[in-house]
Amino acid sequence: MAGNEELLACVIARLIADARHVAVGAASPIPATACELLRAKGRPIRVTRLHQRKGNPFTEGSGELFDLAGQGRIDYFFLGGAQIDGDANINLVRAEGRRFPGSFGSAFMYFACRTILFREEHSRRVLVPKVEFISAPGWSPPEVERRGGPVALLTGKALFRWQKDKRRFLLESVHPGHAVDEVRDITGFQFDEERVDETAATAAQDLALLRGPVAARIAPDYPDFARRVWGIN
């Protein structure tokens, strides 16, 4: 049976299937796994790992990422949050008296790239009615230039689609082993529901790729993750 990390990677791979260029950070082993899965399936997708230790793609320093994104050369990016609210605002600064590391590039990247919000923890602590600090807004008025923005919110228990016109999340699917009632109960913001499916299980063919070529390509930059999920040392 597939682990939850493998399931989440497969969901992300479906969400970004049309990508030509995706950037992933050091804290994003599951999105990186999704990208490698697409590559293993023969998709000609360019994956830029920001903290790649050997053979890093940047030659102009860390600022080059933002130049690339600012020109529209990166299709998808991933952001998380100490808090995420029903307007798709994210908070990486402070919550409930606790200080978090900070906003990083979010206030720029969320505008420049189609963004998958990804946070494994699904709780009322994280998914709140209103964030305490807006690191990056989920929505901008029409006069503000904005190429990118939220596409979906994926957690360890469910997948929400962002409805840009309604400025609300729509619960699309609930992962195997979880129920819609449970998701309603642990989500702090209001969202829409229509026909909620069960998130498609990981196909045997994908699982074989994940545990073979994908795992081997992930291990060098995400050693802890590869050890934990696939037992690779």
Binding site: P101, G105, V144
Partner: protein
């Protein structure tokens, strides 16, 4: 007095000091020397984020302000001394977003008072600050608000480099954000892994990775000077040490013991490079 101790004598209390992230050649020996010198009231600028260097300086009581897009130990987790100092109001924190730091330094590099940056509008980062303004794009036909970021001039840039040469140049390779910091800062001090004879600008293969002596105020040799962080192709990041630090620094007592061993006594890893 060691060469590194002498170098950091140039860094005054209260200086506005630009530092690179953990992955981009931090001058850790110089940071340890600053703590031993009991420097105080530093105003740190993270270009664009900060890690271990900032956490050490904050925990040791050397810092008044942190201007950064984030302070974190990466895979090793939250920066515990930063988090606690921020939560208790012991330091002033001015939050940025990464490209705004680059943009503010690029403005200084070009000698212009501000530069525009897309995005950011609607973020709480823009609230209550006089150094950012939202203005109308004067070239647009219709409404087009855009953020203007005023230039930032660090007093000091401090980082590590693979090589320094007889001409006073330093080689940072692909870490070109360090060139931007050096161009923007009033004074740039660099610790170097190795000193080499001659002038690297005369070597066509090395020259693109060089920061010219025009921008460099002082150099000091510091072997394994970035440890426990890395220098590409020389030594890697000491992940085990960072994890041990993250655990120790969760308490003030654990942090004090860490300082005793690795800053005051100056123990360095015996791991092979």
């Amino acid at each position: 007095m060691s060469a590194v101790d002498a170098l950091v004598e140039h860094i005054a209390d209260g200086a506005f000091i630009a530092l690179p992230p953990d992955y981009s050649l931090p001058a850790m020996d110089a940071v340890r020397a600053l703590i031993r010198r009991r420097v105080s009231k530093l105003r740190l600028l993270g270009v664009p984020v900060l890690g271990l260097s900032a956490d050490l300086l904050i925990g040791a009581g050397c810092v008044a302000e942190v201007h950064s897009s984030a302070v974190s130990l990466g895979e090793a987790g939250l920066a515990p001394r930063f988090s606690e100092a921020a939560e208790h109001g012991e330091i002033k924190v001015v939050d940025y977003t990464c490209p705004a730091v680059h943009t503010a330094l690029q403005a200084t590099e070009k000698g212009v008072p501000f530069m525009p940056l897309r995005g950011v509008i609607g973020s709480d980062l823009t609230r209550g600050r006089s150094d950012w303004q939202i203005a109308q794009n004067p070239f647009a036909g219709g409404k087009d608000p855009i953020l203007l970021v005023s230039a930032l001039v660090p007093d000091i840039a401090l980082f590590h480099a693979r090589w320094g040469d007889e001409a006073g140049n330093v080689w940072v390779g692909r870490r070109r954000e360090l060139a931007t910091i050096a161009h923007a800062a009033r004074n740039t001090y660099v610790t170097v892994e190795e000193l080499r004879p001659g002038d690297m600008l005369e070597d066509e293969l090395l020259a693109p990775g060089v920061i010219s002596s025009t921008y460099v105020s002082g150099i000091a040799r510091a072997e394994r000077g970035a440890w426990p962080l890395g220098v590409a192709d020389v030594y890697g990041i000491d992940d085990a040490h960072l994890a041990a630090y993250a655990a120790a620094a969760k308490t003030r007592e654990g942090f004090r013991r860490y300082l005793d061993e690795f800053v005051w006594q100056g123990t360095k890893s015996s791991l092979p490079a």
